[in-house]
Amino acid sequence: MIGILIGIGIAFFGFVLQTSIGGINRKIVGRLQKRHGPRWYQEFIDIFKLLSKRSVCHGWIFDFGVIMALGGIIATAMFMPVTSSIVAFENYDNFFIYVYLLAVGMLGMAMSASGSGNPWASIGVMRALTTMLAYEVPFLIVALTILNLTDYSSLTDIMLYQQAAGNSWFLIALPLGGIVGVLALMGMLGKKPFETYIAPAEIASGPMVEYGGKQLGMLFIMHEITVFIEVSLFVHLFLGGASSIVEFLIKYFIVYTVVNLISNVNGRFKIDQVVVFFYKWPLFMAVTQAIIAIYFGWVI
């Protein structure tokens, strides 16, 4: 019972954290483009405004898929450790739980978007799944290398392993794998070179094309929690996790801001370019890193 409460607390913490940092990042990007930028709490205003609007219904699947997406993502976030001591369910923070449970949220959104019957939504869902297929393969190779090196699959144990060895982060210990991790994170977050499935000017924001009002508000909440899960996964796997909550906040902010800044100086790939890109250099680097680290044992 306490675990469930802590889990819901972590999901809520992730939502508030990511929404605030997203707002601060909008301000940073504004300054980058020599603008004043919105208020830092603009994202909260956007979400509450969407929840206060009326919305249309495109049928049962459309509404149910949104709830399934939000519920699936909250369920995933409940398992996420924040620091090495704040975990909702001890010994259940296995890496594969996130791989498996994230799919529930994504597929819920895919189902709902297809239920709207809009062709742009179907194209967006197809592109999202293709992008997923592209970045998952290199990312999983690097993640499995880390699991092999540490002999653990629990995120808490992986971050304790990195902290025990004098903060030797896997981003530095596995440099090629670290680069692959950053690229895969950008693909997961849908940041600019890999923003193909949102593409507002091309396919009218893809899967979200038919959403408005309350459903869109729920999808925004879902998106913020998804970003929290993915960035925390990167922090725990590659940056040695965090021993205190302040350390976690600093690492989280730096990772998200760097990825966002890279995103804002890039254009957008076409969908086949995304797949070719991920299957060319990141896959090659990931396989090289795995061979070097596992068979030769060369870890910095």
């Binding site: 483009q33 205003i45 405004k49 206060s52 609007k53 009326r54 249309v56 000017a201 094309v209 038919e210």
Partner: protein, 192 residues
Amino acid sequence: MLSTKFTKKDDVVKTETDRKWWEIGDYFRRNSLWMLMYCTGCCAIELPPSMTAAYDMERLGMGPMATPRQADILLVSGYLSPKTLRRLIYTYEQMSEPRYVVALGSCPINGGIYHDSHVVINKLNQYIPVDVYVGGCMPNPESLLNGFVDLMQGIKNKTAMGWKRYHEHYDWYKANQKHSLGELIIHDEFHE
């Protein structure tokens, strides 16, 4: 006209118990206005400077949106022909409520320099309710942003109630639309 099937006429009467919630909602709605830009005329060229570094619309919480479902403001910039007016009405009825219309330039007010053309709709307000007019041919980005601030004040003072007016005088608007555009009968063979 078949496009009007999305909007129900009744169920807009808000009871007094909802009033407080609506005032809280009005705060969020006026600070986060997303626009759908319907750019048919030359006034659309005033939008890039008002969105980018010079005037920076995003500091008011505003931004462009891709689809009518997500948008709050329908920004009509420039003149309308019967062909584009039909699409404009489809777009307006797809937007989720509360929705606002901002008419940019002098063409939606009285036809502007095209007032005597036989293919230009002169008064937009007869077909869909307009909340804020930004006059001029063409208006500066300053006056455009001033119009948006007026719209925010209107939402605060509850004067920007075009979407409610559309429900209350729906028959009048629909009669005007039919008069100008004519009846459009779509044969939906899939459902017949």
